[in-house]
Amino acid sequence: MNVTDVKPSVLPGVRLGRMSFFWRPWVLCVTLLLAVATFLVFCLSIGVGDFPISLSRVIATILGRGEQVDQFVIMDLRMPRALAGLVVGIALGVSGALTQSIARNPLASPDVLGITSGASAVAVFLVTVSGGTAAAIVDSVGLSAAALAGGLGTGLLVYFLAWRRGIDGFRLILIGISVSAVMQAITTWLLVTADIRDVAKAQAWLVGSLEDRAWSEVWIALWCSLALLVVVSFVAFQFKPMHFGDEVAAGLGVRYAAVRAVLLLCAVLLAGVAVSAAGPVPFVALVAPQVAMRLARCPTPPLVASGLAGALLLIGSDLLARTALPVSLPVGVVTAAIGGPFLVYLLVRANLR
């Protein structure tokens, strides 16, 4: 990574069985703080609404000791949305951190790999071209499933197009940009030719939203991302030396081609899970790792902190969108409106120090 504001220093190591890592107290502190903040905002988000519930009662209910009314309001009405925000935020944050690490480029995000643009193109196609009659058939679940298929298909297409005796980060990103450009052009063209009422509907989908999540959707997203995160956490230990370049990593005994392929696939699938649960929420995957990296003062995006930063951003934005704003806006608008300036603030602050 091209980071100039991090001083290299020698750090003590910690060894646990076959795994070893640096002892970085600051990173641990930041990660823990992010986790606490995420949990608090998560509970706050559940408590706020037409039937306000205090923070202590929310926590009690989550721990299974709540009153029956709270139990109903929280578990049946508010939990799915909040949990969807948590899962999508973590998935996008980790996916972004992986993509930026693999490409060694801070501008890279899963958006660049074609998942969001492919999903968007399919969704906009279904909303606009199939028109009124088919729109009735394609209910909301069908739409997100189709969009997910489109996104994953595009992601795999990018991966296979970029494959040439292995995957090279630079080639992958350029191919990803090309394929994304085609998908975006198709989306643009569909929007230009469509009826304006369909356009508004497509546009609302394109922004990403957490509204009206059902438990069934949330469970799928939750289990899929948990499984993926387990894979990532095992493989990621092999990944650290890769920042020194392929040759050094190979010299240290890392099978970098395999590690990179697995992690890349996980990044694609995590982004796909997020798209299926909330639509193509923009920028979280790009902003969260950069924010986490700067808060934790790491040379590369830290995975856990990136996921937490993504979740915090998404849940916090959703909370703001529901409470503070005069008009109801999809969460994607608010994530961008908060995430963009916060990234800029961190950059300026780092430069002023």
Binding site: N2, I175, Q203, A204, V327, A337, L343, V344, L352
Partner: protein
């Protein structure tokens, strides 16, 4: 994009063979541009023969009904869009090459400085707040928005220590872009008229802009090109790394300021006139680098000419494929350019910026 910019030695000055090859290439591109220009004048809803084009351009007004009609088509429709195609294509090509040079990031694009999102936001505001419906009115808003966004991004990136650090610039641009895009979406989602205008503006078209817009836009682009030319030698040295450049007597801050000002003028003016045309600058910059090598004194003129040729050709194809309708040039740049670009990427033709 890694810690060390990949530096390649420009061919030695005395190498007359390399020089001749580059001059021949430049001549070929000029010839292609002339051919594209003639085709752009001749092809369309009504195809004209070269003699008819000639008459349309130069013949004095006559009583002949048919010739008067041809004169009208050529002078009021074909000539403006051809001139705009050339001017905007050069601007976006040169801008794309420069931004990749100044950020040392091979996936940087002219939209990165926020000019596209600034222009889009200004257009939406012009429609939604001021009630302007006519593209001629909001061209100036677009230009103002692009300019302000460019200045803000550069201002943010040059605060304090590490002023003009390429990474800071790229990320600040991304942060501002993210924010403005969110604001644009927020306005467009709450105002159907703005949404309607925005989708047409977003597709990027050469059609329907008159000389009353083209002349001022060209003046800004000309100023941008002059600035660009003055920075090319120092840009070459900057790509050897800041320390080396400083040691060789380059005023880094001045060079970066002039370069970014140039990119803002070029991309802002082109975007104001045609709407955001994504991918063009990025693509031609890579192709130009492949053709000339890393010497920016050759790379930038190549990128400019390539940009003009590609944009004109895409505009011409757009007039032919869905007759009697049209596909916008911005859409076709991605649909035609991206697969071609992806093949070149796959064959390993490109080096990092």
């Amino acid at each position: 994009m890694g810690q060390t910019a990949v530096v390649e030695r420009p061919a030695p000055r005395g190498s007359s063979k390399a020089r001749r090859r580059r001059v021949v290439g430049l001549g070929t591109l000029l010839a292609l541009l002339v051919i594209a220009t003639v085709l752009s004048l001749a092809v369309g809803a009504r195809a004209l023969s070269p003699t008819e084009v000639w008459h349309g351009l130069f013949a004095a007004p006559e009583s002949d009904q048919r010739l008067t009609e041809i004169r009208l088509i050529v002078r009021t429709v074909r000539v403006p869009r051809t001139v705009l195609g050339i001017v905007a294509g050069i601007a976006l090509g040169v801008g794309g090459a420069l931004i990749q040079g100044y950020t040392r990031n091979p996936i940087a694009d002219t939209g990165l400085l926020g000019v596209n999102s600034g222009a889009s936001f200004a257009v939406v505001v012009a429609i939604s707040v001021f009630g302007f419906g006519n593209p001629f009115q909001y061209v100036w808003f677009a230009f103002l928005g692009a300019g302000i966004a460019g200045v803000v991004v550069f201002g943010l990136a040059s605060i304090g220590r590490g002023a003009g650090n390429p990474l800071t610039l790229a990320l600040a641009g991304q942060g501002v872009t993210v924010f403005l895009a969110a604001m644009t979406t927020a306005v467009a989602l709450s105002d159907q008229q703005a949404l309607n205008a925005l989708r047409f503006w977003n597709s990027g078209s050469l059609n329907g802009v008159g000389f009353d817009v083209i002349w001022p836009v060209s003046a800004f682009i000309a100023a941008g090109l002059v600035l660009a030319l003055t920075t090319l030698p120092s840009l070459n040295l900057l790509n050897l790394g800041d320390d080396v450049a400083r040691g060789l007597g380059v005023n880094i801050a001045l060079s970066r300021t002039v370069g970014i000002a140039s990119i803002t003028l070029l991309a802002g003016a082109a975007t104001a006139a045609c709407g955001p045309i994504a991918f063009l600058g990025l693509m031609v910059a890579h192709v130009a680098r492949y053709l000339t090598g890393p010497d920016y004194r050759w790379l930038v003129p190549y990128a400019g000419l390539l940009g003009a040729v590609v944009l004109l050709v895409c505009d011409i194809v757009g007039r032919l494929v869905v007759r009697p309708g049209e596909l916008d040039a911005g859409v076709l740049v991605a649909l035609l350019g991206a697969p071609f670009f992806a093949v070149l990427v796959w064959r390993g033709k490109f080096r990092k910026a």
